[in-house]
Amino acid sequence: MQPKKITNTMMKKRFRLSEFLAEKLITATAFMSFTFIVLIFIFVFRETLPIFSAPDEIAATEELGEQETYGNIVLTDAERAVEEKQNKSIAAEEGVTAKNLAGDRWQPISGKPKYGLLPLIIGSLKVSLIAVLLAAPIGILAALFTAAFAPKWAKEALKPMIEILAGFPSVVIGFFALVVLATFIQDFFGLEYRLNAFVGGVALSLAVIPIIFTISEDAISAVPKSLTEASLALGATKWQTALKVVLPAATPGIFASVILGVGRAFGETMIVLMATGNAALTSADPFEPVRTMSATIGAEMAEVVFGETHYNVLFLIGSILFLFTFTLNAIAEIFVRQRLMKKFSGN
């Protein structure tokens, strides 16, 4: 910060109230964005706490049927307090045990609710895997083309296309997948289910491609000219340079782009909600419907009773999503920062 130094050293600073207030106000506002992250952590995790405070050993009871009677009734304060207590005791009786959560059935609305997260986790992984397997080659190779081979006009035509693709609202992609893509894929492969993990994965790849492309392209363009020039000077052709010098040098950035792509795929809601069929199955078949974690929250949160176990479990799913994407982002950041620095600083 050069200007600051000049003011500090060249003249004596006089206290000005407006200066002081402006700086403090701006700093405080900036600090808010940090506060929000903390608040997100607190308030998403807070709603999952009742699950963990419930005693482990008591299994689900038959009384559960009665629980759903109070829905949209307006309650007085006293009644609400009673209701909260009841909810708590029911939650306790239900005992969302670790065993229940680790189960392979997701049946939250039934006499004996089952909150097995396994099918949802499998669903999310399956769809994300398909999406990234499709998007990574397309995104990386297109980025390589743009950064290393493309003539200027092609570059200028391609970049707005990517921006357009990145600007597609996810609900539009979801709609397209639901109406057009699903029918096409069903006819093409002769499938039993119109909406399935594969359709969701293909649609999701449309949302992941721009991320992988943009970050890979940045990484490839950031490879120092000296490296490519050295390679070309040694007699290597343009493509040899691209494949054997540029691409390896850009690997950490490309890797980071794929990780961020996985994060995006994992957290995306509307596309998978509309295109995957939303059946909580545990199978490895990519052509069967799946229910992902994010889609489960999106589909069920509007209908649950606040404070109920189901509600808390949905927040638990959200926390898992949050932690997972958070970790992925952190890994990607480390990769981009440290590895690139090391590689290019020459030692």
Partner: protein, 302 residues
Amino acid sequence: MTITKRKILGTIAYTVPAFFALVIVAIVLFVMTYIVIGGWDSLTMDFLLGSPEEGMTKGGIFPAIFGTFLLVVIMSLAGVPVGTFTAIYLSEYASQKSILARLIRFAVNTLAGVPAIVFGLFGLGFFIQFVGAGVDKTLYNDGMLHWGQPNILWASLTMALLTLPVVIVAVEEAIKTVPRELREASLALGATKWQTIRKVVIPNSITGMLTGGILAVSRGAGEVAPILFTGAAYFLPHLPSGLSDQFMELGYHIYIMATQSPDVEATRGIQYATTLVLLLLTFALNFSAIFLRYRLRKRIIT
């Protein structure tokens, strides 16, 4: 390696990436064409300005357009000032080594990576269940829900949070394009730091701030996941009349019409047309942002 082998490999190494680049272009054009063709016939003035009729099988989408508009306006009013100030702090006040600046940068990066649906959960857990319910308890205390339920204010604030990183990144980029000489000249003339920011830095980066705002609006208009349970309504017979009302929204309307309406096939035309409207809206916004940024970059070169 023989010359021919090298040539063949070279051709492959060149064509395959070029092909994939072409695939992306093809995808974009295909999706766009399909939606334009599907929705063009239903896209009339009556459709844009009318209300849904007969259980949403006929009529227009004006309430959804209005709701989206209201959502992005409130969102911008809340998010753009915070984002701009944060960007000013990061680029003008903070030294790169300060812990606070690094914390904030880390927070912004994290915020950008949080899935949209988690913002929705936060909106529900914080704005509705904590702030809203708290306000109800202290101000009204009559057992009725006033603010402790989904409404347009909470949805907009949730969306503001989601678009905050977009604003911050765009504004910071814009501020970076203001040459240091300008700042130094201003400071050398005796202007204070805040005066310099107000009279030199902000006017010179106003285009970039506008870009940030537009990109945020485009993002906010397109996201549905955060408002699924923080304020969007399936169908409302009237427009929202206050901040504590629910609202209809374009993206949510598409989702509902395509998946939950009783006769999905009969309303395909409406679905396509609504999708087309949303697509055109985000395009218009994105293109103006791209255009502004292009002008900004040109200024750096000259």
